[in-house]
C-alpha cells in the first residue's frame, strides 16, 4: 500500500490535552512536518510559551525548553547565539507574544535574531479561561469584556504581523489561517519558507497563524472554523508581508 498521509514522526504518538477541535494541534503538526521534511528534527530546539501550548514539549519530538510568560524570544535568542548551528523556534500564543511579551518579540525582530517564531493568534487567552487579548476583535466577548471589546476602552485589535513587518530585522513575515484544507496547505508552505530563511541564516522569520479556541469562543469546533473565516480573516488579512528573494 502506498502512503498518501501519515502522522509526522515529528509528533509523538500520544493524545494531547487540547480541547476537541482546537487548531493548536494542526499548527503543531505543520511545524513538525516541515522540520521532518527538511531533515531537521534532530537539529532543532523549540521554545514553548505560557498558554495552552505550555505542554507542547510533550508532543513535539524535538528538544525543547520552557520559558517564562512572553519571554520565549529572549530564551530563543540565547540558545540561537550559543548554538549557532542549531535550528531554533518559538511557538507562542497571542496573550504570550502580543501582550506580556510584546517587548521581547519586537526587540528579537529588531536585533534580527536568526530564529523562527510561530505565532498562534486565537484572539483570546485560552489557558486562563477566555480573557481579552490585544488581538480580541471589536465586539468579541471575553471574560474581561463581557459586553464585547470596545475601541474606546481597549483600542483596536493589534495586527502583529503588520507591526513586525516594519522592522528591518524581520526578513520573513506572513499571516496564514487554519480554517480550511486549502489554507492549511498554504500555512505549511509559509512555515516551510520561514525555516528556509533560518537555514540560510537570513534573519528573523515570523508566521502568524490564525487559530481557533472553541472552548473560550463558546462555539463548537465546526462553528469556530466558520467564525475564524468570517470575522478574523477580514481584520487580519492573509498573505506575505515580507520575504527575501533567496526563498522565492
Amino acid at each position: 500500500m502506498k502512503k498518501i498521509f501519515e502522522y509526522t514522526k515529528g509528533m509523538l504518538p500520544v493524545s494531547t490535552h487540547y480541547c476537541p477541535g482546537c487548531t493548536h494541534g494542526i499548527a503543531h503538526r505543520l511545524v513538525m512536518e516541515v522540520l521532518e521534511e527538511r531533515g531537521l528534527l534532530g537539529e532543532s530546539i523549540g521554545v514553548a510559551p505560557i498558554g495552552c501550548s505550555i505542554l507542547s514539549h510533550n508532543y513535539m519530538n524535538v528538544d525543547m525548553c520552557e520559558s517564562a510568560h512572553g519571554r520565549a524570544p529572549a530564551v530563543a535568542s540565547g540558545i540561537r547565539r550559543a548554538m549557532p548551528d542549531k535550528i531554533v523556534f518559538t511557538y507562542q500564543g497571542d496573550g504570550d507574544l502580543a501582550s506580556i511579551g510584546a517587548g521581547e518579540i519586537v526587540h528579537a525582530a529588531h536585533r534580527g535574531e536568526k530564529f523562527t517564531t510561530i505565532f498562534v493568534n486565537n484572539a483570546i487567552y485560552g489557558m486562563t479561561g477566555g480573557q481579552m487579548a490585544p488581538t480580541t476583535l471589536i465586539g468579541q466577548k471575553s471574560t474581561t469584556g463581557i459586553e464585547g471589546r470596545k475601541k474606546e476602552i481597549s483600542g483596536m485589535p493589534l495586527r502583529v504581523a503588520e507591526m513586525l513587518a516594519t522592522i528591518d530585522g524581520a526578513v520573513f513575515v506572513e499571516r496564514v489561517a487554519l480554517n480550511t484544507p486549502a489554507n492549511i496547505r498554504k500555512a505549511k508552505k509559509a512555515i516551510d519558507k520561514a525555516f528556509a530563511v533560518q537555514e540560510k541564516r537570513l534573519g528573523f522569520s515570523f508566521v502568524e497563524v490564525l487559530s481557533t479556541c472553541p472552548t473560550n469562543w463558546g462555539l463548537n469546533p465546526v462553528e469556530s472554523l466558520k467564525w475564524l473565516g468570517k470575522n478574523m480573516i477580514p481584520y487580519y488579512p492573509l498573505g506575505n508581508l515580507r520575504s527575501p528573494e533567496e526563498v522565492e
Binding site: 502506498k2 502512503k3 498521509f5 504518538p13 477541535g21 482546537c22 494542526i26 484544507p181 465546526v222
Partner: protein, 76 residues
C-alpha cells in the same frame, strides 16, 4: 484521483467533526455508540469505497487520528 483507504487511530480522536465537514464525499461520521479510551465517540467511515484519497480529512484533523493509503500505482 487515487482511491483512498483510511486508517484511524481511534483512541486519539476527540469527536470534533472537523474531518467530517471537509470530506467532499461526506463519508465520515462520528460513531453512533462506540466510545474510546478518552471517553469520546470516535470517527468512523460509512462507505470506504467512495474515498478519493484527497487527504482533506487528515489535513484538518488536529489530533493525528487519520492515515491514508492507496493501492493504486499512479500512471506515469
Amino acid at each position: 484521483m487515487a482511491k483512498g483507504i483510511l486508517k484511524f487511530n481511534k483512541d486519539r480522536c476527540k469527536g470534533c467533526e472537523l474531518c467530517v465537514v471537509v470530506c467532499p464525499k461526506m463519508i465520515l461520521k462520528i460513531h453512533d455508540y462506540e466510545v474510546n479510551a478518552m471517553g469520546y465517540r470516535p470517527i468512523s467511515v460509512t462507505d470506504m469505497d467512495q474515498c478519493i484519497g484527497c487527504g482533506s480529512c487528515a489535513l484538518m484533523c488536529p489530533d493525528g487520528v487519520i492515515s491514508i493509503y492507496t493501492e493504486e500505482v499512479p500512471a506515469k
